[in-house]
Symmetry: C2
Subunit: 367 residues, 2 copies
Amino acid sequence: MARLDYRQAGVDYGKIDPLKILAQQAAARTAGNLRRHGLTEVAASRGESAYVVDCGDFHLASITECLGTKALVADATRAITGRTYYDAIAQDTIAMAVNDLVTVGATPLSVHAYWAAGGSGWFDDEQRARDLVAGWAAACARCGVAWGGGETPALPGVVADDRIDLAASCVGIVRPKSRLTLGERLAPGDAIVLLASSGIHANGVSLARKLAEQLPLGYGTRLPDGSLYGEALLAPTVLYSPVTEALALAGIVPHYCANVTGHGWRKLMRHPAAFTYRVRALPPVPPVLRFLQQETGGDDGAAYGNLNMGAGFALFVAPGDADAAVRIAAGSGVGALVAGHVEAGSKQVVIEPLRLVFGAGDLHVRA
Amino acid sequence: MARLDYRQAGVDYGKIDPLKILAQQAAARTAGNLRRHGLTEVAASRGESAYVVDCGDFHLASITECLGTKALVADATRAITGRTYYDAIAQDTIAMAVNDLVTVGATPLSVHAYWAAGGSGWFDDEQRARDLVAGWAAACARCGVAWGGGETPALPGVVADDRIDLAASCVGIVRPKSRLTLGERLAPGDAIVLLASSGIHANGVSLARKLAEQLPLGYGTRLPDGSLYGEALLAPTVLYSPVTEALALAGIVPHYCANVTGHGWRKLMRHPAAFTYRVRALPPVPPVLRFLQQETGGDDGAAYGNLNMGAGFALFVAPGDADAAVRIAAGSGVGALVAGHVEAGSKQVVIEPLRLVFGAGDLHVRA
């Protein structure tokens, strides 16, 4: 099979980025608007995964995230198995928001649902609607967040026919303020603890869909472990807030956190400073990601540079806290390992077992 | 011209509502999730326009809202005049969120943008992108909110080709907590102060689009005042947070607030209790709404029951505060009038100048 890359799969990041940079610059200039209320933003949160406002005796954190195109995988796999998978993609959507929010040290408190359908008819399918609601509520329970409300508009002409655009916003507080993790404490010697992913999560889905188009059996293809390709893709994203909350209860404040989403392991160098991130141990790779890599002809650079490859979230902690962090994650039902450490040195991610290096030029997340 | 109603215009509220009710019920059951953090929701905010969590010494309020289909009007009118109007619909989108958030007494602090395009190509149109960014930033400045960030995904297959799904989430705090306006203080004798709208805002747009299809000149039709139909529809929604903040500074806490959006003036009886809302004076009707009513053959019941007809937001204040509220609104650049008052009696809106009555059965906003 010919090699596939993201540009072929319909997402051209080169085209989105100029607007994104324009928007980020304009957004940064709005910080002063808070002065009217006697408040200030936490400037270091610009470019991080959630936005933080200093409200005096606490910090306010907020985020809006979308699922992307994973609902198309659910729709197509349903045609094979009869299950809707909207409970699974509901969890994915909440995970996109919650897993970003907790990177700054916030306790997520409430989420709003944004479910924009291509027409009123979308809501006629009762099983799908019930699964969406049930999965959303279950994910809220797992994260200890209240589902505050949301929007369920029908937008014919804007959203495609019989499709739905799923997104979530999440709000939380950082209290005590010492829980804020924007990276000031990150230092050479810190341990890199990787938390296990369940599969593709919600990043790399365009590539996975393109592959489905090229496989003779599409989403019905059996993986080596016997699972269906479509179902394996739809394993819901791990929710990491139970881990970050358990760490806080145990008195462990990470020095930094990175949610491993788009850009895969390049996100390990998300922190703005120049450090070398040296990885010496790898987590198990979920079979669906290994399959995706093999079938699309991607080398390890393409795979680890774009997909989570088994690591859904990275904690950077004081070396003495690393083993405890692994135990606490396991106690929250999330696999973890001490994968490596932070070193002084040029900005790069060095994955020793794969002889792979990502340099600073490989990641652009800030304007 | 034949009469148009919402069902013909492609939005069937009867089909959306069962899911909406299911979601509202499931969401209400998540309140207990907050106990894990030692917090509680403000239960009275369920069914109101923003969700409120009691965080001890302050309340946290949040909301996510979408623009709907108004971007389609901008796209079509641009083909006539050459202007993009994305600055205007950016303000509309923020208004949808901010104007809801302030109904509970919150000071809006930050917004996140959700701009989901049908493909990467959407972002190639630099003028449109720049207008969107500029309008978004300007609306944030007007509301004193920081633009915290957002999502700008390309979702081919989910969002329609060359379209964009625009939404905003907004977070605020109620501090001091005595600013909370969930309606406990609403009482007979309270004055109804109506704040002026600028036009259709973002509700009734499906109907307006359907009318454009039926007019020989479409969005290029001239209204009696000489303006173009499309341009008049695109007058940006009034932002009401400068008014609610100015009221707070003056020590006026409304007894209740209603953002007049879908369901038009039926929203005046949004409060859960049974009161009669008697209106004796009407605000001027924006020409585009008068035109829409006349051309679609709608009677006053259809017009005032679905469109804002000049009243974009309702403040319910102590009778002694009514004149001051009008002055303060004017000082913030927003027209206002004391339109009527609240009475003991069955739940209804009585619009005396039009001999029009909306009963409790005409409005369903709660599960």
